[in-house]
């Protein structure tokens, strides 16, 4: 059952180019336009070049994006199509359903990294230790968990059409404000003050720290913030799910 469900969930997303192509190609497009030009620029604080900084940014951006979109949109569209009603009547254990989606999201996230890393290596001349590549990869996958909860929350709170709009309108500006495109120091002061409280900023810190960029606080603080956000998003998702339960299935 798990194998079949995972396969189906994967195909559902893979066959929607708006999701699959965008998730994999958009970070490459950003990297081409922004990362390559400045790739060899050495950044404040020492030996990290912008090529590596931006690689970490894009890894964070694309994985969080995959998590939010794959959970948010699939939940919202299924509610819109009344598919949730039919699935509800099936002998499919909810845990299998959830797990199949998580596995699919992780596979997509891994796919974006598998494409992004070599691209940065070749086009951006990014050279890192094996341990740095590895740390970046596992931190990016682990740190994306709160964004799974956020995706669920958005999926249960929005309709199928508004989900895409909401995510697009919020995600990119937030990514900018979090210093994913330009380091925090280059952003307007007001944004600089807000940035440390944004989950994408904290997520970004994990990535930048992995490639050797000096960060102002210890990464335990970052993990703590992310865990906190994870709890908050999870609580919202559970609340939205329960509300849906009592409306549709009580």
């Amino acid at each position: 059952m798990l194998v079949q469900q995972t396969r189906a969930e994967f195909l559902k997303l893979w066959r929607v180019p708006a999701f699959s192509a965008t998730s994999i190609l958009l970070p490459l497009v950003f990297y081409s336009f922004i990362g390559i030009g400045q790739a060899s620029q050495v950044m404040q604080g020492g030996h990290v070049r912008f090529g590596a900084y931006f690689l970490a940014s894009m890894a964070v951006y694309s994985v969080a994006n995959v998590m939010i979109f794959s959970f948010g949109i699939s939940v919202a569209t299924e509610r819109g199509m009344k598919m949730d009603l039919l699935m509800r009547a099936m002998p499919l254990p909810p845990l299998v359903y959830l797990l199949s989606r998580c596995i699919t999201a992780i596979v997509f996230a891994a796919m974006t990294l598998v494409v992004l890393f070599p691209f940065a290596y070749v086009a951006g001349d990014v050279r890192l230790d094996a341990s740095e590549w590895f740390t970046l990869a596992y931190r990016v996958l682990l740190g994306s968990i709160p964004f799974i909860a956020l995706g669920f929350a958005i999926g249960y709170l929005s309709g199928p059409n508004s989900a895409v709009a909401v995510i697009n309108l919020i995600y990119l500006p937030t990514a900018f404000a979090s210093g994913l495109f330009f380091p925090k120091q280059l952003l307007p002061q007001i944004i600089q003050n807000i940035a440390p409280y944004l989950p994408l900023y904290r997520f970004g810190q994990l990535g930048w720290n992995a490639i050797g960029y000096p960060t102002s606080e210890s990464i335990s603080t970052d993990w703590l913030y992310l865990a906190g956000y994870g709890v908050v998003f999870f609580a919202i998702a559970v609340w939205a799910y329960r509300r849906e339960e009592s409306r549709k299935f009580s």
Partner: protein, 292 residues
């Protein structure tokens, strides 16, 4: 041996509205039952309770004597809902395989697809299917698990005459496999063709529970409509009609013997145009029954 499906004094309120009022129904294994009633009668609510999609406000809904939310119980049940959806970007054979994987002993994939008449569309994406093909897909998904009990909620709604006819034959084919079938409909003809037992529901209450022939004798099955400028209700006295309404020159009547009625009118030389004879929607029949 517990009954396949049972409602015990089940009541369901949506806010202030009582959709079901203390309904008790017992369906044994192997029965083919139609729940008949006009829109809003409580048919879909009954099915929702029996499938565990909703909980009764009071009373009980049981499948095989157990809670319908039990996964083992659900693995013996196939479902075709009135409001349903499937992922647009999967192929027909992929989604049939997916749903088959939910059940312990499913039918072979090609058999399930054949039972729905979708062999030609097996490799098509769901989004490429027409409305009628989609309905047949839902049917394939309902039977693919080889269930002991099949629930069909208004399965032919929105279909044209030909589509309905062939769909009814598919349901009949499944019923002949000695399964329990519970279907809801507001067409008396459909209930008559498929079921051995008809449970009539109106406004949340069971008002009849009998074999189709008995129900038919109480409710007129055909609706005849025509335009006849010179006709009044008195002219129809003595004819086997159960309800007459004449608005302007448009005559609508309910009868079990449309041929006899029309023969009489023609013999009398009554001028008729725009003649239409159709299966009586239960709406018509119930309005007629309650207004008398």
């Amino acid at each position: 041996m517990p009954p396949a499906a049972e409602l015990i004094d089940a009541t369901k309120k949506y806010g202030e509205t009582e959709a079901l009022r203390g309904v008790t129904i017992r369906i044994e294994l192997g029965e083919v039952v139609a729940m008949l009633g006009p829109n809003g009668a409580g048919k879909t609510t009954s099915i929702s309770l029996l499938l565990g999609l909703r909980k009764p406000t009071s009373g009980k809904a049981l499948l095989f004597g157990l809670e319908p939310t039990n996964l083992l119980v659900r693995s013996r049940v196939g479902v075709m809902l009135q409001e349903s959806g499937v992922p647009a970007m999967l192929k027909v054979r992929e989604i049939v395989d997916l749903f088959r994987s939910y059940y312990p002993k499913p039918l072979p994939r090609d058999r399930a697809i054949a039972m729905a008449g979708l062999e030609e569309k097996a490799n098509a994406l769901v989004k490429e299917l027409s409305g009628g093909q989609r309905q047949r897909l839902y049917f394939a998904l309902a039977v693919c698990g080889d269930p002991d009990v099949l629930f069909l909620d208004e399965p032919t709604v929105g279909m044209d005459v030909e589509g309905r006819r062939s769909f009814i034959e598919r349901i009949a084919e499944f019923a002949r496999m000695e399964r329990t079938v519970v279907l809801t409909t507001h067409y008396l003809e459909e209930a008559d063709q498929l079921a051995k037992r008809v449970i009539v529901i109106d406004r949340g209450v069971v008002i009849a529970d009998a074999p189709p022939a008995e129900i038919k004798s109480k409710v007129a099955g055909r609706r005849v409509r025509f335009v006849a400028p010179a006709l009044s209700e008195k002219d129809l006295d003595g004819l086997p009609v159960t309800a007459v309404s004449i608005t302007d020159h448009m005559v609508q009547l309910l009868t079990n013997k449309p041929e006899a009625v029309l023969r009489d009118l023609f013999q009398r030389g009554v001028a008729i145009t725009d003649l239409e004879v159709a299966g009586a929607d239960l709406e018509d029949a119930f309005i007629a029954m309650t207004s008398h």
